[in-house]
Amino acid sequence: MSEKKSGIIGYGVQIPLRRIKVEEIARVWGKDGEHVSEGLNVKEKAVAAQDEDSCTLAVEAARKGIKDFGIDPKRIGAVYVGSESHPYAVNPTASIVGEALGTTNEYFAVDLEFACKAGTAGMQICMAHVLSDMIDVGLAIGADTAQGRPNDALEFTAGSGAAAIFIGGDKKEVIAEIDQTCSFTTDTPDFWRRPRAEFPEHTGRFTGKPAYFKHVLGAAKLLLKKTGMEGKDFDWAVFHQPNGKFPIKAAETLGIPFEKIKQGLLTPFIGNTYSGATPIGLCSILDVAKPGDKILAVSYGSGAGADAFAITVTKNIETRRAAVPVLKQIERKEYVDYAVYLKHRGKIKSL
């Protein structure tokens, strides 16, 4: 990579207020809730309200980043929104986000989709823009209001949330330099949704070894080779988290202990936020990281691919922090039962 560095200059996270417990979903379908919850290592998931969608979550996350990190929206030269639940099939989320933030009209914009890794793909594109001096600041957002078919395994984990990551190159602002990034991609259809289909299809157990682990570990190993680092060189790590178990196993394989991933492992409390998952976990790590800390971040998107990042926290983080840490934001919640959940998620057919 070139001498010029790019990095994260600010971030914001939006998690909906409402939660449903895995045990409550299991109750409705006559399953052993405790057993399901333990098996997935997921206690509850965040539920978007009837007036929320991926676009509103994206805007609210980005507004927090702008406010907390003092970023002038007029400096934003690119907006990329990664999601598998864009509110429109045609008509971009990115342009709505730009207007809501008050950007100028001169910015690159497009919606991205790559199952759960479109948010980190946006980060890579923003990095490339910054490194080539095409823009001053780029905004990459991972946002989803994930849907699972009632009584499908995905229903227990499909959550809602968004993270907005601002990428820039000004050394005075960068709180975390991105030292290296790479992607590992194959044609592996383990999860998909056809046009007009309301819910995604998936291949059950096939989503594990040949899909998630092959790609996450594949990208991580590529990154380690490029950086000359080992798993143990990192102070923190975050992996895509379709459940609470896969990321723990991925970390173990790379020789990274649980203590280093705990801060960014949020699926047990908010569910799998799809495109939001790895970025939100990364933001939670940035909430507590110290100057000089090394962070490994690896997303995963079905289809399939993984994006890996080696990140070094700078001293700017001592003065540039989010107003409300992710873990604190998650504490504020309101439980809903299954019927209210159905109402908010628009799954009641006669409405």
Binding site: L17, D51, D53, T56, E60, I96
Partner: protein, 133 residues
């Protein structure tokens, strides 16, 4: 209620970012924006400006019977909000505990869908407010 696409489009800056106006002569802020200052008339000089994103509840009411498009959200709260620059906004209050929705309660701007959208139509995004602790 159906509003034409151009009409909706013109109101986007107002709905998304609380774009209003203020008078350079007397300093009063207006939301929605005005073209003539009611205080200064011809001497007024109006400039477009995004309103502050925080304020407090001036008055509120609980809606039990919602109009078309809002009937599935009842009961919900509507409040007249006094923004930090004294301009007033009428808005739905969301994600707030009922006992905290009081006159004088501090609120901040949120970005949400307004009303129920029809499956094939355009989505109406706009401001709503929530009480901050």
């Amino acid at each position: 209620m159906t509003v034409s696409a151009p009409m909706n489009w013109r109101r986007i800056p107002e709905r998304y970012r609380l774009k209003g106006s203020y008078c350079e002569t007397c300093g009063k802020a207006f939301f929605p924006g005005r073209v003539v200052c009611p205080n200064c008339r011809r001497k007024g000089k109006l400039k477009e400006q995004d309103m502050p994103r925080a304020g407090k509840i001036f008055s509120y009411t609980k809606v039990h019977v919602g109009p078309t498009g809002f009937s599935h959200e009842t009961p919900y709260f509507i409040a007249l909000i006094e923004l930090e620059n004294k301009a007033k906004v009428l808005s739905q209050i969301i994600d707030s505990e009922e006992e905290k929705i009081q006159v004088g309660a501090k609120v901040e701007l949120a970005f949400r869908k307004v009303g129920k959208d029809d499956k094939y139509g355009a989505i109406n995004y706009a401001y709503k407010f929530k009480v901050i602790e």
